[in-house]
Assembly symmetry: C2
Homo-oligomer: 337 residues x 2
């Protein structure tokens, strides 16, 4: 059974049948009814591949994940995938390494795959309109926003936590538990990423609580990798650096830090407390369980799709900030002050 | 500049230009050269969207991940994504939960997205030809194979480790280090998954080393979840079960087991040794570092794409078994025998 049989049965041309099957408006109601009657009478099953060939647009959105080895992203990818599918989109995946240019990758993907829009999961916080213009489609920044960039509010949507505020909360918690010598483990203090934002929050909390900043306590390991985090903390301890608490900008880095402290003979939390931001599953099983500010990962993924969907349906751009929630583990102890 | 301008400039019809742009064979070399000369002279950029409309097939392969929360899959997904892109494929992602039916999901994806082929990452080991016929396209099982099914060799490709053999190696290592009371932490001993295969390897190693099987030492936690693994081990210890070594069928479950043992006052490795299979990054940072048989995850992802690519180019189906490599950590100690 082919489209020709349907055309012959209903007494119209093949192209008219095609127009009916593809919901073109330029067909009279009478012809439309006749064609559908033929389709049903002949039990004709439209060939989806052929139908797709004449579709004017795809239903695909791109998901560009920068630093996919980060376990923090896994539940977000999952939520994006589920939500996008429920909304009728196909998700085209593109994973790149932490150091790669997500905008170049996204622009190429959007062009070659006829994407409707893009979700960038992980990325830089300093976009300019010139650079994002290459994307050519609406996009949503997920887990970060344009803190250091020059995009106008109409250029993009984003959903993230308030990184500076969350970092300040974590450090203030350490202060309230009696800690005065508080270090930070980060990628770099000035890399225009969430590392810089969380460093700002760290410094702000120290300042607001009357503590002096000490650059020696800023442990910059140069990446978000666990291996770099481990080496950096181990070198600091072996070099004689003293602190009673360490704020780590990610759970994965905190896991490596706890291991480095333990290997160096520093007990967590008795000798050194550790706190982080992210809240991944694995750090429920560190010894001790990590105390951390949990990001709402599923909600973040769902909202990323919602924001993109709104843009694709003519809605405006929005920037949403979600709250973190404290997950008390056993990695922070109180000190007498 | 449109395709009509190119047609007019080169003196051929629009459909001929289209055939040239899409590499159809039924165009003479002379016409082909004339059209490309016009394309270059006019700086015509073919509209990809329009080109895709007349392409007979898509370039998409589907990646169905069952149990995407498993960190073991992350580097495999990454390798599949990179290798597939380098080979010119678009990867359409579909993540489902551990308990869901990957064949139903894959069949729907293949149909709706006009996929060329499928990679199933995680899945059941008991497929029948009736069930896989719904897929309608070539497929590769990645990280598992059809151990309990009835597929014929021409029906599918797969790349995995030899699960039974790897499990036997792990348990034999415990035996050689002096352990005689060896437990296994698994999902279920008879669920037709890699859990059952690894249980077979466990029993085989006990038998070959002259040890009796004791069903009490088979800790079936009902899933691959860390939370279930934790509860199961904790309940066993609290219930008075004694063993000096525990073989865990996955690294993630071993991480939860180490935590449960620690929380129950059992020291790892002094009181109980732990070994696993997988080799994920996080278990380099457990305390102690996990001793585990590392699966070649990147190679597995690359080979999955290679096997599918071969099938798509008229090659046959193959089943490949890759070796694991022992990563010595600090979670296994020797006992005097």
């Amino acid at each position: 059974m082919t489209i020709k049989d349907v055309a012959a049965y209903s007494g119209v041309s093949v192209s008219t049948v095609s127009r009916v099957l593809n919901d073109h408006p330029d067909v009279s109601d009478g012809v439309r009814e006749r064609v559908w009657a033929a389709v049903h009478a002949l039990h004709y099953v439209p060939n989806n591949a052929a139908r797709d060939l004449v579709r004017p647009t795809s239903d695909s959105i791109g998901l560009v994940v920068r630093g996919a080895e980060n376990p923090f992203f896994t539940p977000i990818i999952r939520a994006i995938d589920e939500t996008a599918k429920a909304a009728g989109y196909t998700v085209v995946l593109h994973q790149i390494r932490a150091g790669e240019d997500e905008l170049a990758a996204a622009a190429e993907l959007a062009r070659s795959k006829r994407l409707l829009g893009l979700i960038l999961l992980g990325g830089s916080t300093d976009y300019t309109a010139e650079r994002t213009a290459r994307l050519g489609v609406p996009f949503v920044c997920c887990s970060f926003t344009n803190s250091f960039g020059t995009l106008s509010a109409a250029d993009y949507s984003s959903v993230s936590i308030d990184d500076e505020r969350a970092a300040a909360q974590a450090v203030t918690l350490l202060y309230e538990r009696g800690h005065r010598d508080i270090g930070i483990l980060l990628s770099a203090p000035d890399d225009r990423s969430i590392s810089e934002l969380r460093c700002r929050g760290y410094r702000r909390a120290l300042r607001e609580n009357g503590l002096a900043s000490d650059d020696a306590l800023v442990l910059a390991c140069g990446s978000y990798d666990m291996s770099d985090a481990y080496r950096c903390v181990r070198a600091a301890i072996d070099g004689g650096l003293c602190f009673t608490a360490l704020f780590c900008i990610s759970d994965a880095m905190a896991m490596a830090a706890i291991k480095a402290l333990s290997d160096a003979g520093v007990r967590v939390p008795e000798d050194c407390s550790v706190i982080a931001i992210d809240g991944i599953e694995s750090t429920l099983y560190t010894i001790p369980t990590l105390t951390t500010l949990v990001q709402p990962k599923e909600a973040m993924g769902r909202r990323a799709v919602g924001l993109l969907d709104a843009q694709l349906h003519g809605g405006g751009c929005r920037r949403e900030l979600l709250d973190t929630a404290l997950r008390e583990g056993g990695s922070v102890c109180s000190r007498r002050t």
